[in-house]
Structure formats: structure tokens, C-alpha cells
Symmetry: C2
């Protein structure tokens, strides 16, 4: 099956978790909003489908697979996981993978809110003092809480400490790669100081980064660069450890 991914074309954002899974599986997909408007695609096609689907998404990303339109990042991965062979071997593994991915989604929301604590409708510069407070709490309390949890999960994986779920790669491992990659971009100082607390996650990040399809993807133009528009943003004044 060929998939259609719909997401904002200029950022990695939440869509990146889907892109990484599709790339690792070498699945056929069209990143619709990144294609030219002149070809009938682009952002306009995305907004049109949002308005006219029988099951309208609240927000991108969403995926079209045949007649099905499915939204919510973790939900899309739950759907794609078995189809792409990235979701573990049995029902218990799939339930566990979805649960971890939902926790990653919660973390991603907190990463976003570290620079936008007041409103997504305001620019960063209009909520900078509040962002400094929230980012300080993020670095001091939330980042270690989430990364410490994921580290503990991987370390105590009864099937070995090489993957987050079971004994082989799942979409959760790809998501952990993206989390580490994004945090290093956004908070280089805080990560330099603390990332050695999470050796299993760092090792996983490295092993994912050198997988042939992922390495090829990361070097390609299909990988949108990090920037000051996405979820993970680097503002020097937020990357401060007040502890």
C-alpha cells in the first residue's frame, strides 16, 4: 500500500515520528503537503482533506491509507506498527508500545510548551519571560523525569536492554532517537550536563542513527532541518540550568 502523510511542510514537528517509521520500513509514501500546489497537493490539499473527510482530524499529522484517514501521532503509529513490522510480535507488545508512545506524546507537548507556555497563537518573543520560567522547570524537573523513566524502561526490558519494547526495533525506538536528537538541538547545554545519566537511550540513539535506511533518510532532502519553527527549538536563553 502507498500511504499519504499530511503534515506541515516546513517543520519536523509531530509528523517526524511518522516519517521515521515509514522511512525505516522503506514504505511507499507521499509527504503530501511538501509537494507542489501545482500538482494538486501542498498545504491546500491538506486543509481540504481536513475539512472534507468523513472523519475530520482536529490537527495534522494525519495519514491516509486507502479510504481510512487517521490522526493523532501515537494513534497513527499504533495503526502503522504491525503493517510496517515495527510494533513487536504480540498483542501485549503492541499495547505496551502504544502506551510508551502516548507518554512520548505527552513529553513532546511539554517540550513545545517550554517555549510556548502561554499560547500557540502568540510569538515566542511575546511570551519570553514565561518561557524562561517554564523552560527552567522543564530542564530541572520534567526532562529528568521523562528521560529517567524511559531509561529505566529500556534498562529493565525483560527481553534485553537493546530496545524499548521486546527484542527488536519498534516505532518507539525511532521516537526515542528523535527525542534525543531534538533535545540535543534545543538544549545542548542541559543535555551535555545530564545526558550521561541515560546511557541506554544514548546507545539506542546511536544505533538508530546508523541504521542504513535512517542514515540515508537523515542525509536526504526529505529530512526537514531543525529550526526555530518546530517543537524542538534552540533559544540560548532557555537552555539554562538554574539548579
Amino acid at each position: 500500500m502507498s500511504y499519504e502523510l499530511y503534515y506541515w511542510p516546513t517543520i519536523q514537528g509531530r509528523g517526524e515520528f511518522i516519517r521515521l517509521a515509514l522511512e525505516e520500513a522503506d514504505a511507499k509514501y507521499i509527504d503530501v503537503a511538501r509537494r507542489a500546489e501545482s500538482s494538486g497537493m501542498g498545504v491546500r490539499a491538506m486543509l481540504r482533506l481536513m475539512d472534507n473527510s468523513e472523519y475530520p482530524p482536529f490537527a495534522p499529522p494525519f495519514l491516509k491509507a486507502g479510504d481510512l484517514v487517521i490522526a493523532q501521532t501515537a494513534h497513527i503509529l499504533q495503526f502503522l506498527g504491525p503493517l510496517l513490522d515495527l510494533a513487536g510480535d504480540d498483542e501485549t507488545s503492541r499495547i505496551w508500545a502504544h502506551q510508551l508512545q502516548l507518554t512520548i506524546s505527552d513529553f513532546v507537548t511539554e517540550v513545545h510548551d517550554s517555549h510556548h507556555p502561554i499560547s500557540g497563537n502568540l510569538y515566542y518573543k511575546d511570551q519570553k519571560p514565561e518561557a524562561q520560567k517554564r523552560a527552567a522547570d522543564f530542564i530541572q524537573a520534567r526532562l529528568p523525569k521523562f528521560l529517567g523513566y524511559f531509561e529505566r524502561i529500556m534498562k529493565s526490558n525483560p527481553h534485553g536492554d537493546q530496545f524499548m519494547v521486546g527484542a527488536r526495533l519498534s516505532y518507539v525506538d525511532l521516537a526515542i532517537f528523535q527525542i534525543i536528537e531534538g533535545l540535543r538541538y534545543a538544549f545542548p547545554r542541559a543535555m551535555k550536563k545530564s545526558e550521561s545519566n541515560y546511557p541506554h537511550l544514548l546507545d539506542l540513539h546511536h544505533r538508530v542513527s546508523v541504521r542504513p535506511r535512517i542514515a540515508r533518510y537523515l542525509k536526504s532532502a526529505r529530512r526537514v532541518p531543525f529550526s526555530k519553527q518546530g517543537i524542538f527549538r534552540h533559544y540560548k536563553e532557555l537552555d539554562v540550568d538554574r539548579s
Copy 2:
């Protein structure tokens, strides 16, 4: 099967979405953390299971069903839905129900952050100016965006406009009941001004509230009252419409 629900005992919070589904289905369940410590239950039993489960939850609520321990509100409902006959009739309905519930979860996070925009580790009084800004944006932009979306979904339900998913009650309808109930408690002024924009949701809220098992539950001691501890909190200074 008898279920064990684990959630903070003194608030409705995210656990309430699970309680409502269990109550509507007349399912056997133990609200473990609300039972006495002397009986081996209570909060200590909850924290113990969080630490010692093979699949440790990041946070409450979580559900124990036989050997399975499952966390994340929307995920628990996805699991319980078919077992409680509250998830639609087919796979497409179940996918759709989960997608809507995940969007409700996102909304619940925003409701929470309207009074805690900086940190869950600080008291409300220590982030009051920031909360006033975020609550103003919430009332002006986010509340109408989410409720407008849910209203549109129900109004355009191809199976009739009586339920959120398909032609009969699902856990999503119970969640919409709780959302309206909570918003009326937390933001009575804003809701009085705007709730007539969402006639389908109000009608659904009423119809859920008079269902015999729900009505019985709401009058019982099992329903934790709203308070200044939960997700939905009433602070007069946040219930202001600056538009």
C-alpha cells in the same frame, strides 16, 4: 472480570473518564487508591504497583485487568471499550473513537495548564499572573476551537447527531459529558456566555446525565466532588473573557 482502577483518590482528574465508563457499564471494579491502607490498598498500593509492574506506568490512572497493567487514559478506554460495549460496532468506529478520545486528552491537558502554565510542581498562587494570561487565551481561543470541533463532529455524524461515534453510546460521549460538566464548574461565566454555540454537546451532556447508572453514580459517594485540586478548577480571576 473485576477491574482494579488506580488513580489519585481525592480528585476526579483523568481517572474520572475511566470511572464513568465502568459505572455506565455496571462493571465490577475496585477504586484501589480510595480504599483503606489498612486493607492493603490505598495510595501506597498504587505507588507500589507503579514501581513493581513489568510494564510500569509513567503516571496514574492505570488499570489492572487480570495480569495486564495498562496506563494512559485514552488507551485504557480503547482497551475497555469493546469489553464494556462502549466502543462502537466495528473496527472503523473503534479507530474513530480512540482518535476523538486522544483529542479530548489533549484538551484536558490544556484545561489543566490554564491554571498551571509554568509547572505542576508549583502552587497555583505561585504562577497566578501567568495563569491569567494562559486562561484568557484558553477562553478566547482554545475552548471554542475544541468545543467547536466536537460540536461539528457530532452534528455531522453520518449515523445521526445523537452520539459522537456511530448510532449508540460510547465512552467518547461519557467523556464529552465530563468535559461540559467540568467546564461549567471551572468557567461558569465563560460557559454561560458561549455554551449555546454547542447545542449538540449540551444535549448529549443532558442525556448522559439522566442515564440511570450515571445518575445513580453522580449522586453516590463514589463520585469525588469537584475541587481546587483537580483538572477542572474554579478560580474567579481566571474565568474572565477579555475579548
